[in-house]
Subunit: 193 residues, 2 copies
DNA sequence: CATGATTCATACTGTGGGTATGTAACTGTG
DNA sequence: CACAGTTACATACCCACAGTATGAATCATG
């Protein structure tokens, strides 16, 4: 029997559970996924899942945060590659649209999360990770009313989400992406003043 | 015993079920509402619900369509009060934002429907009822690429939905509404070209 | 009014979220 | 290293609820 520390045991189990949760919740949706299935896919039983997460909802929340962390990291990476904040905004919008093609991200973050976790929880989490980037970008280029920036960023974010869903359902996403991206650019441009 | 025709019996029962479904699904969400509860609120039992609708999902779909029909009727009414299509668009956007303050509409149409019925089903239904109005308005004022109109309308619709949720969460919706409406106007204006 | 079709109620089954309890694996202390 | 105490799970159980018969009223029709 290998000797592992408790922290190692916990970390490995929770990591396996979150990985399985993202896989199954992303593939079959929240309602279509049982805790037993997630635990089995992680090589443990319900007991472990309830011990570490305390319920189906917190487990889903962990999967949600995993998805959010991934897109956030990607956004920060590409934003850093651009020089001025405005180019970063445009690049970020396009990157977000592309990321919506990931079925797991779509199912967990776009479809199930608002219903399962509540809109405000999702909004709060997205604000910390995604919208913060948008708001920062807008703030840097906004030339007039600073107070209108958050609401404006929110509206653009809603448009981007809708665009992402539209893109994912497109019969030819590769052809659709540039058109949507240009429409998104137009939106950003419109709100620049 | 009063003598009723079968059609009357069916109509009364289904109407009562849909009414109860809109009430409960709207108040407690899809997952938080049992068929027994809906049936009890309608004065019948599960048997009636399953006889007329065949399951929880079709029952929810009926509630969803009821909500959609209501907002649609309201939109058509206010749009008819405006003269030119552009004013109708602006008025429609504002009306939609206001309607998002209804908790039942929010829960059923904005939060649960995409997760429960699937995004494409919701999109299709909304396209027939709500987006059709938007697309028609844009088509009438679009001066350039006609092909870009549907996607553009979709993005605006996404922004409006996000604005509606934001409005509903606002501590002072009455104060927030005009600001959001002006931002929406700005969006519409931007896409007019 | 007799026969068949609708409309519904009642009783039952299965699945799955949640909980209680037991057991094995680790950790700190003498 | 022995031995309590804690942590990490597995197992067995309960219960709510979606879905499925089955049967009994109610209504339509020849």
């Amino acid at each position: 029997m290998i000797r592992r520390t408790q922290a190692e045991r916990s970390d490995e189990t929770t990591a396996a559970l979150v990985r399985a949760a993202r896989e199954l919740f992303g593939g079959n949706g929240y309602a279509g996924t049982s805790i037993d299935a997630v635990a089995a896919a992680a090589g443990v039983t319900k007991g472990a899942a309830y011990h570490h997460f305390g319920g189906k909802l917190p487990l889903f929340r962990a999967a949600f945060e995993g998805e959010l962390g991934e897109i956030c990291a990607k956004l920060e990476r590409v934003a850093a590659e651009e020089g001025d904040p405005w180019a970063a905004l445009r690049r970020g919008a396009r990157t977000f649209l592309e990321h919506c093609l990931d079925p797991g991200f779509q199912q967990i973050v776009m479809l199930d999360a608002p219903s399962v976790l509540g809109w405000e929880a999702v909004r709060a989490a997205e604000h910390d990770h995604l919208l913060g980037i948008l708001v920062a970008g807008f703030s840097m280029v906004a030339e007039d009313d600073e107070a209108a920036v958050p609401a404006r960023a929110q509206l653009v974010f809603g448009a981007l989400c809708e665009g992402g869903m539209l893109l994912a359902r497109s019969p030819d996403p590769a052809a659709e992406l540039p058109r949507l991206a240009s429409e998104a650019d137009r939106l950003l441009e419109a709100l620049r003043v």
